[in-house]
Subunit: 323 residues, 2 copies
C-alpha cells in the first residue's frame, strides 16, 4: 500500500499544467506562488460531502470535474481569470481506481482552463472533497455582489433548470422525458462560465453564480446591494426539456429555485446595455435579459399571464429547517 | 434556525482582524486580496477529521485553535509571514454552542498572528475542518524541503514528544505522570513556530514542521534534498516528563516518531552556524542542534551509549497498512 505522500504524488503531482507563476508546487509545507504585478487575487473554497452533495456510487470522474467546476464558477462570478487550485481529499480508504478516475476528471478540467494543482492534503474519513481556487482580476473590475443599483438590468447566461430537472429525474420524482442524458451532463459536469465572467468584468455592476437557485442567488445580490428586483418568468432561458416540463406541470420552481446550474446572474447599468448585449451575442453560453433592479427590497415575479408574486420562493439551504 | 449564510456571518464575519490588504472578505463569491509588491505567496491546506484527528467529544475551542495552528505551522516551516485564512467546515448539525466555541478558539489564534478569515464554506455532513492559510515571503528566502546539503547541521525548536506522550496518556497507554496538563496543552493547542521560521528564513537551508514525527519529517527533507542524516538521541530536546518517560521505559519513539508537536526541524549550512545559534538564543522556543546532514541517504541514529541504528523508525501515516 503506498503511503499518503505516494498517493498524492502519484495522482496529482504530475498534472498537465505547469505555470511559470508556480515557484514550488505539491510536495513541500507550502506552495510558493507569484501573483502578477497589478492584479488582485480572488480566492474561493467549497466542499462537496458524500450523502449531502453526491451519492456514494457517484461517478468519481464526474465528481473530480464537479469539485473543481463549482469552485471555478465562483471565479467566473467574480470576473477572475483562474490560475491555481488546492485539493483536500478525505477518503474512507485508499481506493486507487477511484482516485485515478477522480484525478482524471479534476485534471482534465484544470487543463482546459490552465489551472495548476499546487497543493493538497489527503486524510482518512468519510468521503468529502474541499477545493480552493485562486485567480487574478484587474483592480476595479471584480464583479462583486454589492454593486447592483436601481435601474440596472438583470441577465443570466445559458439556460436554467436543467440540473434541477435532472435531479428530480434521478430521485424518481419526474419520469416524463427521454432526453435526460443532456440534463444529467448539466448536473454532473457543470460548465463554469469563465469566458462570460471575464468578458463582463468591468461592464456588469454585480454578479453571482446560480448554485442555490436563481431567486435565492439574485436575492443575495439584492441584499448585498440594498436593492430589490423583478423577474419576468417568460424571459427565463430554458432548454426544450425544462420548457416542456414547466408547460406540462406549471411548476416554475425548477428554473427559478433549483440550484446546480452554475450559470451566472449579472446586473448591468442601463448605460451599458448595448455593450453587454453585443458582447453577450459572442459568448458561448449567451446572455439573456430576465428582469430589472429596483429600489424596493425583495425579489418579485411577473408570471407569463401578467400576474405577480411578491416574494419569490428560494432555493436549497444546507442547514435550513434544522429545528 | 438561521440559514447557512447566517451561521457563517454570525460566527466568522466579524473577526477581530481587519487587514488593509483584504479588499473583500467573507460574503461574496470570492475574497479579493492584495499580495504586497515583491513578495511571494505561500499557501497550505490541511484537514482535520472527526474520528481520525480528533474525538467526537473534543473541546471545540481547542479544535478551533488546532485547525488553524497546524496550518500556520506550515507557514512557519516555510519562513512565511501569515496573512489570511479560509475555512471549510462540515458539521452534522448547526450546533450553535459548538460553533461559538470553535470560532472563539480559531479567531483568538488568528488575532494573535494578525490573520484575517477571508472566506469559507459550511456544509452538512460528518464533522471535518479544512483550513487554508496564506502568507508572504521574500523571494529567495523561503525555507524549502529540498535545500539541505551534506555538512549542514540539523536543528529543532522547542521540545519533542510532549504531544506524543499526552496522546499515549489519553489512550490509557501511559499512566505514570502527574504533570499531564502541560502535555495535553501541547497536544490540544500546539504553538505554530512562526517567529522562529521568520527569523531563520534566509539562513536555514531547509525546514519542515514536525507533524508526522521527527524521523519521518527529517526523512522527507532528506529525500527532497537527495541527502541523509544522523541524529544524536541524547541531543533531542525533551521536557522533564518526556525525559523521565524515556529513562523509565527506554522508549525513544515518543520524541523521535510521535507527531503533533509542530516544532520546526531545520538544516543550517556550517558557515551560518554561529548566526543561527545567536538568533536561536533570542527565540521563544529556542534552537537545538541534534544532528548532521550527510551524503548517504536515510536517517541514522546514534544512541546515548554510542551504539547506532541504521534506519530510524518513522511516524504515523494516514493510509499506511491499508492492505
Amino acid at each position: 500500500m503506498p503511503s499518503e505522500f505516494d498517493l498524492i504524488a502519484r495522482y496529482f503531482s504530475r498534472g498537465p499544467v505547469q505555470r511559470a507563476d508556480v515557484l514550488l508546487g505539491v510536495g513541500d509545507d507550502c506552495a510558493l506562488l507569484e501573483v502578477p504585478a497589478g492584479r488582485q487575487l480572488a480566492v474561493s473554497i467549497d466542499t462537496l460531502v458524500e450523502g449531502t452533495h453526491f451519492a456514494r456510487d457517484a461517478d468519481p470522474r464526474a465528481l473530480g470535474h464537479k469539485a473543481l467546476a463549482v469552485n471555478l464558477s465562483d471565479l467566473a462570478a467574480m470576473g477572475a481569470e483562474p490560475a491555481w487550485a488546492t485539493l483536500a481529499l478525505t477518503l474512507p480508504a485508499a481506493d486507487e481506481s477511484w482516485l485515478a478516475a477522480f484525478a482524471g476528471g479534476f485534471l482534465a478540467l484544470a487543463e482546459r482552463h490552465g489551472v495548476q494543482l499546487v497543493g493538497g492534503d489527503t486524510t482518512r474519513g468519510p468521503r468529502s472533497i474541499t477545493v480552493q481556487v485562486h485567480g487574478f482580476v484587474e483592480p476595479g473590475r471584480a464583479l462583486r455582489r454589492d454593486g447592483a443599483r436601481a435601474g440596472d438590468l438583470v441577465y443570466v447566461t445559458g439556460t436554467l433548470g436543467d440540473a434541477g430537472l435532472a435531479l428530480l429525474a434521478q430521485q424518481g420524482l419526474f419520469v416524463g422525458l427521454g432526453v435526460l442524458d443532456g440534463l444529467r451532463e448539466r448536473l454532473d459536469r457543470p460548465t463554469p462560465r469563465l469566458a462570460e465572467g471575464r468578458a463582463l468584468a468591468g461592464i456588469a455592476s454585480a454578479a453571482i453564480d446560480v448554485s442555490d437557485g436563481l431567486a435565492a442567488d439574485l436575492g443575495h445580490v439584492c441584499a448585498a446591494s440594498g436593492v430589490g428586483a423583478t423577474l419576468f418568468l417568460e424571459r427565463l432561458p430554458c432548454s426544450a426539456a425544462v420548457r416542456d416540463y414547466v408547460a406540462g406541470t406549471g411548476d416554475w420552481s425548477v428554473p427559478l429555485a433549483a440550484g446546480d446550474d452554475y450559470e451566472l446572474c449579472l446586473t448591468v447599468p442601463a448605460a451599458r446595455q448595448a455593450e453587454a448585449e453585443a458582447l453577450g451575442a459572442t459568448l458561448p453560453a449567451g446572455l439573456h435579459w430576465i428582469g430589472t433592479i429596483e429600489r424596493v427590497a425583495g425579489v418579485r415575479l411577473v408570471l407569463p399571464d401578467g400576474g405577480t408574486i411578491d416574494q419569490a420562493p428560494v432555493g436549497y439551504d444546507h442547514f435550513a429547517g434544522d429545528d
